[in-house]
Subunit: 333 residues, 2 copies
DNA sequence: AGAAATTGATAAAGCGCTTAACTAAAAATG
DNA sequence: CATTTTTAGTTAAGCGCTTTATCAATTTCT
C-alpha cells in the first residue's frame, strides 16, 4: 500500500502535523525530531501526495502549455525550451495542441483549470480573446509567448514581429529584389510581420504585391507550396523573391520553385521565419529570420513562475528581437 | 470564489451526495432532482475539482509520457499522435524529456507518481530497467512504445526494428551496394536494427563493415555528420552507401557527403529511419524506413487506457511493421 | 390494511495533507 | 523562586469530493 503521512508519523512517534512541518520546512521543529522524521521518511520511501496538498491550496507544480501544434518544429522546440526551464524549478508541463481551434482551446483550458494547474502559458495562435481576458480577471496566472496582445494588459514574451518583417524585406531589397511575394497564414503575428514588411518596402518606394492573400490551410509545407505555385505562375512573370512567414511554408515555396524547374536562389530567392532545425536541413539552407526560441522559453517560464509565486504584480511585456540568419536560399538579383 | 459542490447542493436544495451522484451518474436519482441539479451546475458554471476526486481514488485523467527529447521530430510527432488519441478519451499528457539520462527518468517518474498520474507511457530510449520492473510489480499502469523489452513481461507497442534493419540492408543490396556503413547510437532499438541489417547481409554473403562503432553523442545531425565523415574518409575508399539509424543522423550523413564535394545518391546512397517530416524536406528527399507513428501513438494510448480501466489483465506486445519509403537519396551503384 | 420491497435522498466518514489555535515543558527574566 | 517568554509539539478543523450505511417515503404484494 502507499505510505502516507500517517505511517511516517506513527513510525516516528510524532503527530502528522510535525511530519508536515518537516516536509515543508515550516514552523518550529527540534533538531532531533527533525532528523528522526527525515530518517523515517527515507526508510519508508515516503512521497508526499501532491493531490492532497494541492487540495489544501498548495501548488500542483504543474503548468499548462497551449500551443497550436506540437508536431510543428517551431512549437516543439519552444515547448522543449520551456520544459527545460520548468524542470529546473520542479514543474511539469501539460502540453496541449489546439490546432487553432477555439473549441479545443476552451476544452483544454477548462480541463486544466479543474486539474488546478498553477498557471498557463499560451503560445502564439491563441485567438480566443475573451477567454484570456476572463482568466486575467480571475487572477489565474497566464502568460503569452511568441504572440502579442497589444490591446490589453497581460504578461507577454513576444517577438518583435514587425521588425522581423522589416528585416526580411530589407534583406531582400538589399539584394535588389523588387517583386517580392509573401506567404502567410492569417494570424496576429503574421499580420505584424506583414506590416513591418510593407513598411520597409514603402520606405524604399517599392510597392507591395497586388495579388496577396492569406493561405487558409495550416502553416505547413503543402499549403506553402500551393500558394507559392500560384504566385510563381502569375501572368506578370511572378516574383523574384518570396518571403514565407515560417520555415515550413518557406520549404513549400522551395519545393514549388523546384517543381517549376527553376532554381533557388538563382531564379527565385526564398526567405523563411523562425529558424527551426529544418531551416538548416533543406537544400539550399534557408535564409530566415531567427526567433530566439531558447530565450523565449526561458523568459516566459520565469515570468509565469514569478506570477505564480505572487512576486510580480506589475504586468510586463518583454519583446525579444529577431535576427537575420543568412544562408543560401537568397541571392542578389 | 471557486464554486464547489456545496454551492451547487445549497442552490439546488439537496445534499452534496446527491450532487456527486449526478456528476458521476451513479446510484439512484429521481429524474426531477437530477434535472434540477444539472440546471444549477450549468447556471453556476460548476467544474468539479479533480484534485478532490483524485484524492478519493478516482482517476486524474492524466498520463505521463517520458521521451528522450521533445525537440526531436520523431518524438514530437509521436507525442502529438498520442496526445490526439488521449484527447478523445479526455486525458491530458504530461510530457517529459529525459535526454536518455537515468537521473531525469527517475526524477520525472517520482514526480509524476506523486501527482497521481493514471499511467505512464515510456518511449524508446528508456534504459532504466529496474525502475520499469518495479513499476510493473507495483501494478502501476505502464506501457512502452517504440521500444521493446523482450526480456520481460510488459505491455508494449513496438516496431519490428529487426525487420527495419533487414529492409534497409536488402534495399541497399538490391541496388548493388556491398560496402555499406551504418551510423547508430547505442540504444536497444538500434542494436536490433543492426542485427536485422547484419542478418540480411549474411544471407547474401556480404560482410559487415569492420570499423563500425556507435556514435556517442545524441542522435542528431552533427554527430551523424561527424561519423559519416569518418567513414567516408577511410583509407579503403569508404562506403558506397550509408544506413543511418534515424533521419537526423542520415541528414548529417548527407551533409558530410556534400562537404566532401560528392553527390547523393550518385556517389553515396543514404538511408534513414523513422520517416519524419524532415525526410521529405532534405535534398535529396530521403529514402527511409517508415515507422507508423500515428498508429503507434494510437495503439499505445489505447493500451494504457485499457490498463488503467483494468480491462486488460494479460500482457500484450504489439509489434508493428516498418516499411520502405523510397525517395531519391539512394540509387543503383 | 399491514408487511415487505423499492426508491430517492441524506448523514457522515474518510482520502492525505496543511495550518491555526492551543498546551506543556523548558528557558529566560526580574 | 515565581513569572513571563520561548520552544516544541499536538489537536482538530477543513480542503472538495466519493461512498457506505441509513432512513423516510412510496409502492407493491398478500
Amino acid at each position: 500500500m502507499k505510505v502516507t503521512i500517517y505511517d511516517v508519523a506513527r513510525e516516528a512517534n510524532v503527530s502528522i502535523a510535525t511530519v508536515s512541518k518537516v516536509i515543508n520546512n515550516t514552523g518550529r521543529i527540534g533538531e532531533k525530531t527533525k532528523r528522526k522524521v527525515e530518517e523515517v521518511m527515507k526508510r519508508l520511501d515516503y512521497q508526499p501526495n501532491m493531490m492532497a496538498s494541492a487540495l489544501m491550496g498548495k501548488q500542483t507544480k504543474t503548468i499548462g502549455l497551449l500551443i497550436p501544434d506540437l508536431a510543428n518544429p517551431f512549437f516543439s522546440e519552444l515547448a522543449r525550451s520551456i520544459e527545460d526551464r520548468a524542470h529546473e524549478f520542479g514543474y511539469n508541463l501539460v502540453i496541449c495542441s489546439t490546432d487553432y481551434l477555439p473549441e479545443k482551446e476552451n476544452k483544454y483550458l477548462n480541463l486544466l483549470k479543474r486539474k488546478n494547474v498553477d498557471g498557463f502559458i499560451l503560445a502564439s495562435g491563441f485567438e480566443n480573446l475573451e477567454k484570456v481576458e476572463e482568466m486575467v480577471r480571475e487572477h489565474v496566472p497566464v502568460a503569452i509567448v511568441a504572440r502579442d496582445f497589444p490591446m490589453f494588459s497581460i504578461n507577454t514574451v513576444a517577438l518583435d514581429d514587425f521588425m522581423g518583417g522589416y528585416l526580411a524585406a530589407s534583406h531582400l531589397m538589399k539584394l535588389g529584389h523588387q517583386k517580392i511575394a509573401v506567404i502567410a497564414r492569417d494570424v496576429w503575428s503574421n499580420r505584424e510581420r506583414l506590416r513591418g514588411f510593407k513598411q520597409a518596402l514603402e520606405e524604399k518606394n517599392i510597392k507591395f504585391m497586388e495579388n496577396f492573400e492569406y493561405i487558409d490551410g495550416p502553416s505547413h509545407v503543402e499549403p506553402g507550396k500551393k500558394m507559392a505555385l500560384k504566385y510563381l505562375t502569375c501572368d506578370d512573370g511572378g516574383p523574384t523573391a518570396i518571403f514565407a512567414c515560417n520555415d515550413l511554408l518557406a520549404i513549400g515555396a522551395i519545393q514549388a520553385v523546384k517543381e517549376l524547374g527553376k532554381n533557388v536562389p538563382d531564379d527565385v530567392s526564398i526567405m523563411g521565419f523562425d529558424n527551426t532545425l529544418i531551416a538548416t536541413i533543406v537544400e539550399p539552407p534557408l535564409t530566415t529570420i531567427a526567433q530566439p526560441i531558447q530565450n523565449m522559453g526561458k523568459e516566459v517560464l520565469d515570468l509565469i513562475i514569478s506570477m505564480i509565486n505572487g512576486e510580480k504584480k506589475e504586468v510586463m511585456r518583454l519583446t525579444l528581437l529577431p535576427s537575420l540568419v543568412e544562408r543560401n536560399s537568397t541571392s542578389p538579383l
